[in-house]
């Protein structure tokens, strides 16, 4: 990985972190409503994976989709505006947090239905395969999603059709309150790749470098016609499942121990120790992101609400 890519990843992780922290604040201030699922703690996955993607590569995302969205190129202002239901949001305020999409950047959409986005990325991969380019697609999903039939069907189909598709499972140990040991017959979800004759690998999802190694391999394979792969990233969400989750299912100690494994801090330390960047340089990036986030917040807050007279627009397109 070259320095430029590393700095890009670092910046994206900071963007995601600051965006989510701001969203939480806004939620607490009642500026945001609905189901908001924060990505804090998992930033390394979206940022590292998307650092290798082009605008013509597709992703599909989940209910916990802000990170993927930002990493795939969304601007913070319209993203936040969408979460506030503003007319300037990516979806004109129609979609909200769980349905943000930005098809022009190759983000085929967040998806509020667990597992629901997976075959959609598959369709993107299919389109790319049929057009004969070396563009690919990535399906992001959680540990909980691996028990939905649609994910299994998609893995089988991707393998049978040898599609340029990478399944990226973010195993953050829980689906809402349910620990994977209560919901999933295997400990390492990557084991399931065997059932589809594709490579499967489990990596430390809080470590940019581990993710990078795995994704580079999978992308090479996909771009060169080698077919799909499954990468499981073990990680953790710091916040509750959604803003307002009482979190009866885990201890403060558990959360704390994972916060100590902060992916941003870890990458920071790595870059400084390897002299890829100085602490000051990284601090500067963080500060730039804060400025950017302030502007995004201002943009979103000042944006108008959609006009109810337009409510029926776009049920069909012409």
């Amino acid at each position: 990985m070259d320095q430029e890519k590393m700095l890009w990843i670092y910046r994206k992780m900071q963007e995601i972190r600051k965006f989510e922290e701001r969203a939480l604040l806004l939620f607490e201030r009642n500026e945001l409503r609905g189901s908001v699922h924060l990505y804090i703690g998992q930033e390394a996955v979206a940022a590292t994976v998307c650092s290798h993607l082009r605008d013509t590569d597709y992703i599909s995302s989940t209910h916990r989709g802000h990170g993927h969205c930002i990493a795939k190129g969304a601007e913070l202002g319209p993203a936040l505006a969408e979460m506030m239901g503003k007319a300037t949001g990516y979806c004109l305020g129609r979609g909200g947090s769980m349905h943000i999409a930005d098809v022009t950047k190759g983000n085929l959409g967040a998806n509020a239905i667990v597992g629901g986005g997976v075959p959609i990325a598959l369709g993107g991969a299919l389109a790319n395969q049929m057009r004969g380019t070396d563009d690919i697609a990535v399906a992001f999903f959680g540990d909980g999603a691996t028990n939905e039939g649609i994910v299994h069907e998609s893995m089988n189909l991707a393998s049978v059709w040898n599609l340029p598709l990478i399944f990226v499972c973010e195993n953050n140990l829980y689906g809402i309150s349910t620990h994977t040991s209560q919901s999933t017959a295997v400990e390492d979800i990557s084991v399931r790749a065997v059932a589809y004759d594709m490579p499967g690998e489990t990596v430390d999802g809080n470590d940019v470098l581990s993710i990078d190694k795995a994704i580079v391999k999978a992308i090479e394979r996909a771009r060169s016609g080698g077919g799909p792969s499954l990468i499981e990233c073990k990680t953790y969400r710091w916040q509750g499942h959604w803003t307002g989750d009482p979190q009866v299912y885990r201890t403060r100690e558990e959360v704390k121990s994972w916060m100590e494994k902060c992916p941003i801090k870890r990458f920071e330390e790595y870059m400084v120790s390897k002299k890829i960047a100085t602490e000051d340089e990284l601090k500067k990036i963080e500060e730039e992101v804060i400025v950017q986030m302030d502007a995004a917040e201002k943009f979103a807050l000042e944006s108008p609400e959609p006009d109810p007279a337009t409510v029926m627009d776009n049920v069909f397109c012409y």
Binding site: R33, S35, E148, S177, Y249, E305, P308
Partner: protein
């Protein structure tokens, strides 16, 4: 009588029925420690243990299928769906299996199964988590369809559902969970299916409403009383079976009817009710039966837009005035 919230009323009936009959058990996502996302199973794990209060993987189709299988094998399962929108990932198990098995097997199986969960707008969950999906289950035969509008009836209807030998789709409404009401404490208190509740008698117009719209219509009726309009408000409570008689008797008296629900208007429950009223009481009608339901548009995230899509009190009022030619 005790004062309880809608969610506690539901929880208590589940607990009572589980105590009464050890074939009754419940499965669902996050229903154990968490007590359900909306609290409808809170405390059940402690009371009944994890054998009978079973957290599941996120596998709705298998959950319903397990319910169907356990049911024809002699158990009486309750399956909680976190959102009734998720019936979509389990539709075959509901429509092709649960609904049809007794008939297809020549009546040689019973299928006591309650599929319950919440639906509807009001919490900014947007298009895939705010729908009212009861129409599907009203259309395909073999399922009973229940839509309780307050805590007391949620309790009485749920008890009937759990004791029924047929599959029941039990539609709670997310914004009703915190509403309070009187609940009959009799552990056998049950409201029979197919008996509409005349919420309020009246003589000028029959207003038929389901779920949260029963409450909203009460407010409208109250307001119209001041304008000298007497509204008869009917809550069918169950869409299958449907209490045709009560509705028709009312329309014969009033000569006018308005139907209000949150499901989409097009081909929604109101279409059936309106068409049925026309068939059965045509000569009594002084005006067309009007229907109010969600516009033909996915439910938008933005609250103002959401309100523009589902019927508002003002819409109900003007529909009533319209059938009264006022």
């Amino acid at each position: 009588m005790s004062k309880k919230s809608y969610s506690v009323a539901i929880r208590d009936v589940i607990a009572e029925e589980m105590s009464r009959d050890d074939r009754v058990f419940i499965i669902g996502e996050d229903i154990a420690e968490q007590g359900g996302i909306f609290g409808c199973t809170r405390g059940l794990l402690e009371q009944f243990g994890e054998e009978r209060v079973r957290n599941t993987p996120i596998s709705e189709a298998a959950m319903i299928g397990a319910g169907v299988g356990a049911s024809i094998s002699g158990m009486r399962p309750i399956v909680e769906l976190m959102y009734m929108d998720f019936t979509f990932v389990a539709m075959d198990q509901i429509l092709n299996q649960a609904a049809k098995i007794r008939y297809m097997y020549g009546g040689k199986a019973t299928l006591p199964l309650v599929i319950r969960g919440q639906q509807g707008v009001g919490r900014g969950n947007a298009a895939t988590h705010s729908q009212s999906v009861e129409s599907i289950f009203m259309h395909f035969p073999g399922l009973k369809v229940v839509m309780p509008s307050n805590p007391g009836e949620a309790a009485g209807l749920l008890r009937t559902a759990i004791r029924d030998d047929n599959p029941v789709m039990f539609f709670e409404h997310k914004i009703l969970y915190n509403t309070q009401g009187e609940v009959n404490d009799d552990p056998d208190f049950a409201i029979p299916f197919g008996e509409a509740n005349i919420v309020q008698e009246g003589s000028d117009v029959t207003l038929i409403a389901t779920s949260q719209y029963v409450n909203r219509c009460k407010a409208v009726a109250e307001k119209l009383k001041q304008d000298g309009i007497s509204v008869e408000l009917i809550d069918p409570r169950t869409l299958v079976p449907f209490d045709t008689e009560t509705v028709i008797d009312s329309v014969k008296k009033t000569g006018r009817a308005v139907v209000v629900h949150e499901a989409h208007k097009t081909a929604g429950p109101g279409a059936e009710i309106a068409a049925m009223i026309m068939e059965e009481a045509f000569n009594y009608l002084d005006a067309p039966v009007l229907r109010l339901g969600a516009a033909a548009c996915p439910l938008p995230f933005n609250l103002n837009l959401e309100n523009a899509v589902v019927p508002q009190e003002a819409d109900i009022e003007s529909a009533i005035k319209k059938v009264l030619y006022k």
